[in-house]
């Protein structure tokens, strides 16, 4: 629109800048923490600027891939691994989201992480994450995408476990890595499968081949399921959602960037990237929609009872990604990315707000907060904006994107529409429950925060509030990018191959009205229960208590996974049995052989009694046997 076309070198520079920051952080600036931070911010700023350029270029080209060449990394016979950059509408949008949110979060972190021992390490990891995420969206081949996919997993692991001295953080980091990797197995298997079919990793080529129908439906379905498994893991969809709430052990900016705005939506991006193939198979689309819809509702219900503000947001994230999956499953490609786009802003905003609250209160437990609106006005206002956007109040960003999803769901499958609609209400409820508990009423916290420091309640410094304010803007207005303008649609549809249809959105008053009503109702209920000085239900009816217990224990899914499936069944029973097998059967056979040989030797020694005639008797027995056997064998 404004600039000339972006050259390939500049695209690579988007990726390279944070990598350079990583290398410098790791090798040189360890001793000067502030320098590390500034360096990272600078690098990401460069990336962001270039990303905007890429977006501009992409806009000029109607979102169609710019068609950069792939470069061969290595080749083993038919196995050729190429590295190349895809820059189409989808990528451009993602680039901007990733580098933009990242930039703001890094600025925020400069203040938030101040004084931490691992300040430099933190920014190194953050650079690694940003670079990997950029690589992920740029990748033009599945294998490179997978590589960066794993790297973002790694950075997520490193950042969740950033405060590794805390056992909970260390455990959460491991859990996050392993659970996502479980999904990645499907991804990897899908890559193997598709390679054995097509002998290429190039996404565009695979898409072309798949659309041409030259891959058997069953095989293609297996491929898509594998890919979707990867997406489910990374995007914390049911049943692999368990890692995300625990991941809140990481520093809050990390949660904002990685576990709300960018990495967790990589699954959505992946499905969107392969949307042309997905949409060929209705069954798989139903699976995607089903998982998404179910997760949206399921996670929202858990969020209802959480007392940790970050966990509320975490379950909210799971739920919102469920919406995106539902949209994709319903064929609403644009709606999904639209929601991804808006969600990135308001959810990052909410997380950063929570971090700001924590910065003051020293805790994330909402039962120990309250009344913060007076002390932290900027945080309060921006948080409410984010909350309204999340709840889907018109005319904030969240409303428009969610409305498109509801519309698509309605056209596709009414059950999931109903579910999504209910979830709107729940979303509004838990969001405002959190707002009321945190900012409303009086301060309930202890005089001292955990760790013995006195809680010094105050508004956060400018470096922290500035990103909040900046993020609040798109949280409000980002909706207009696609409604009513359809700019986003224009950009994204270019990324789809010719002939691939996506769901056409028509604004419908009844749906919008219902959605708004649900949201308002949710907020109202939240006010009734938590507004003012209220702290929820004082007397709990009998019928609701088991439900609450179930929700507070997150449907016992974590417990079943960790304690029963992995801890008991796999580790104790399976592993234990195998260990015993290894020790007593396999190794036992070895030692047993040695023992038998030794015993035979011992027994033989005893026969060697020193008694002369025994020797003679043995000799003649041997002789007789030799003769008999010989004669019997020769049979003269």
């Amino acid at each position: 629109m404004y600039l000339s076309d972006i050259p390939e070198e500049a695209v690579w520079a988007i990726l390279a800048a944070p990598f350079v920051a990583l290398a410098l952080n790791a090798l040189i600036t360890r001793r000067w923490p502030l320098l590390s931070g500034l360096l990272t911010v600078l690098a990401i700023a460069v990336s962001f600027a270039l990303s905007l350029w890429a977006l501009d270029t992409s806009w000029d080209r109607d979102g169609v891939d710019l068609g950069f060449e792939s470069h061969e990394l290595f080749a083993i016979g038919p196995l050729v691994v190429n590295v190349g950059a895809t820059v189409d509408g989808l990528t451009a949008i993602m680039l901007v989201v990733v580098s933009g949110v990242s930039l703001l979060v890094q600025i925020y972190s400069l203040a938030y992480m101040k004084g931490d021992d691992g300040f430099s390490r933190y920014f190194a990891f953050m650079s690694l994450f940003t670079a990997s995420m950029i690589g992920l969206v740029l990748a033009d081949s599945l294998i490179v995408l997978y590589a960066f996919w794993e790297l973002v997993g790694l950075s997520s692991f490193l950042l969740i476990g950033f405060w590794f001295q805390r056992p909970a953080a260390a455990a959460a980091a491991k859990k996050a890595f392993l659970v996502t990797r479980l999904g990645d197995l499907g991804f990897l298997a899908a890559i193997l499968l598709i390679w054995s079919e097509t002998e290429t990793f190039d996404i565009a080529e695979i898409t072309t081949i798949a659309l041409a129908g030259s891959i058997a439906t069953g095989t293609l379905a297996m491929f898509l399921l594998g890919i979707f498994a990867g997406a489910v893991g990374k995007s914390a969809q049911f049943p692999l959602h368990v890692w995300l709430p625990d991941a809140m052990e990481g520093p809050t900016p990390v949660s904002a960037l990685i576990h709300a705005a960018t990495m967790v939506v990589a699954g959505v991006y992946l499905v969107a990237r392969l949307f042309p193939i997905f949409q060929t198979d209705d069954n798989i689309m139903a699976v995607v929609a089903g998982i998404g819809g179910f997760t949206a509702l399921f996670a929202a219900t858990i969020a209802l009872v959480q007392t940790d503000i970050k966990r509320v947001l975490a379950y909210s994230t799971i739920s919102q990604i469920g919406y995106m999956m539902l949209a994709l499953g319903s064929g609403a490609f644009v709606a999904a990315i639209f929601h991804l786009f808006t969600h990135a802003f308001f959810k990052a905003l909410l997380f950063l707000g929570a971090g700001s609250v924590n910065h003051a209160a020293g805790t994330f437990d909402m039962r120990e907060m309250g009344g913060l609106r007076r002390i932290m006005p900027i945080t309060y206002v921006t948080f409410v904006i984010g909350g309204l956007s999340l709840a889907g109040m018109v005319p904030l960003a969240g409303f428009f994107s969610k409305d498109e999803i509801l519309g698509a769901a309605y056209d596709d499958n009414e059950i999931w529409f109903a579910v999504a609609l209910v979830t709107v209400g729940l979303t509004a409820f838990y969001t405002f429950r959190a707002i009321f508990m945190t900012f409303g009423g009086h301060y309930r916290g202890a005089a001292t925060a955990p760790g013995g420091h006195s809680a010094h309640l105050h508004e956060s410094p400018l470096l922290m509030t500035l990103p909040l304010i900046v993020l609040a803007v798109p949280a409000i207005i980002a909706g207009f990018i696609n409604f009513p303008s359809e700019d986003l649609k224009h950009l994204l549809e270019g990324a789809l191959p010719e002939g691939v249809e996506e769901h056409e959105f028509d604004f419908s008053w009844p749906i919008a009205g219902a959605s708004l009503a649900m949201a308002a109702g949710g907020i109202l209920v939240a006010w009734l229960l938590y507004g003012g000085q209220r702290v929820g239900l004082t007397t709990k009816p009998a019928f609701i208590r088991p439900v609450l217990t179930l929700l507070e224990n997150r449907y016992y899914i974590d417990r079943v996974y960790e304690d029963f499936l992995v801890g008991f069944l796999f580790y104790r029973v399976g592993g234990g049995a195998l260990e015993l097998f290894d020790r007593y059967v396999v190794d036992g056979a070895v030692n047993g052989t040695a023992w038998i040989a030794g015993q035979a030797g011992e027994w033989g020694r005893r026969v060697q009694s020193g008694q002369l005639q025994t020797y003679g008797a043995v000799a003649f027995t041997g002789l007789a046997v030799m003769l008999i056997v010989y004669v019997a064998a020769v049979n003269p």
């Binding site: 990394l73 290595f74 080749a75 083993i76 016979g77 038919p78 196995l79 294998i143 997978y146 590589a147 960066f148 794993e150 790297l151 790694l154 692991f157 476990g161 590794f164 001295q165 805390r166 056992p167 953080a169 260390a170 455990a171 980091a173 491991k174 890595f177 392993l178 990797r181 479980l182 990645d184 197995l185 990897l188 298997a189 193997l192 499968l193 390679w195 054995s196 580790y571 399976g574 592993g575 234990g576 195998l578 260990e579 290894d582 396999v586 190794d587 056979a589 070895v590 040695a594």
Partner: protein, 486 residues
Amino acid sequence: MLSFIIFSPLAAAAACLLVPRSRESSVKWVALLGSLVTFAATVALFILFDKDEGGFQYTERVTWIDSAAAGFELQYLLGVDGLSVALVVLTGLLTVVSVLVSFAIGFRQREYFFWLLVLEAGVLGVFCALDLILFFLFWEVELVPMYMLISIWGTGRKEYSALKFVLYTIAGSGFMLAGFLILGFEAGTFDMTALRDMEISDAIIPMNALFALLIAAFVVKLPVFPFHTWLPDAHTDAPTAVSVMLAGILLKMGGYGILRICITILPEQADDWALLLAIFGAINVIYGAILTLRQVDLKRLVAYSSVSHMGYVLIGAAALGEVGLMGASLQMVMHGLITGLLFVMVGLVYERTHTRQISEMRGLAPSMPFVATAMVFAGLASLGLPGLAGFIAEFTVFIGSFERFEAPALIGVFGVLLAAGYILWMIQRVFFGPADEKWAGLSLRVHWWEQTPVFMLGGLILLLGVYPTWLIDVMEQGVVPISERF
């Protein structure tokens, strides 16, 4: 050139013995110098190696024992192709690493470095030998040094472990020898270069049994379930440097043998056996990984992880295609680097804490940041993180084997998850968590001889993970002729 590479460690070993007892502490410098010379030679070999020219290079052929009339003609026949040249360099590198990490060895240093360098010579010989009997000779050379190294300088049940290792190896290699002799009788030569141009279709025992004999030593060495139990014992009780050598190079002798001898010489039988090999490879991966998860001893954990990782070699080799074989070969080199690094790190941890029980460690990261960082790095490489060496190899194995054997390949993929499980679990328990007061007083000092190997190995792991072409191009020269047999 190859003779120089093989015999220079021997010369250095002899020099180690000549150091007077009164100046025993300087023997490590002699050993370091010797290993560096050898390493330099191997690097030169790698650089000078002409990857565009086929066949074996730098061949040396001298008739050693000429008793052709008795069907027994031994040639001192050396040569390298792309496959062996990579392993030769790996050996040179890991020996330097081993010598460096042995700088802290406190007693009987002369003998120690003597045996270490003799070991290197034997291993180099295995990778360069092109005559079956010569191969066998070098194969056996390694036994006495290993026995001595483990049983004198080891820890724990060191004699038991050393003996177990030796007996297992001798038993396996004995059957291999039987196979060689039967093969040689049938073919009339022990010359591998000649054998690989032959079609051997008949022997005094069924051909598939002959294949089993030939592979016997290699499945013990690799090791393949259920012949693996010597490995955790030997690794655990060996001194650090020997664990590095053992896991880094000696296991590769098994994989190398399978590629160079079993598959190359008897392709038809390899085809018959492929499914079984793949199944056992898959068992190895899963079985080894699950047992790794159960380990409470840090070194044993790494040892069992080797069992798991060597399963990939088998899976890749069983695919019998260019990609699979390449994957197996790559996995050997990469695993050599990665596990070498892991064992170095375990050694450094042990040096500081004097325990290997994971339960006794907790929150070590602040007490030893360098070690912790390097260990995490090595662990990530081991669990197949893209961008590090292990991923390239494992991925190639999966691609290569999936076309032929889907299920073993997928089981192998599952092993990647388990690998993440045991590595992360180990890291979590050892380095993360609140620091234990027990370790508060540990010196933060890291000696240069501890740092150097880490940077050498770590740098290569990263380099190969990002840009492996330079290695692949060379190795392909050796792998393609094998895959062309099918």
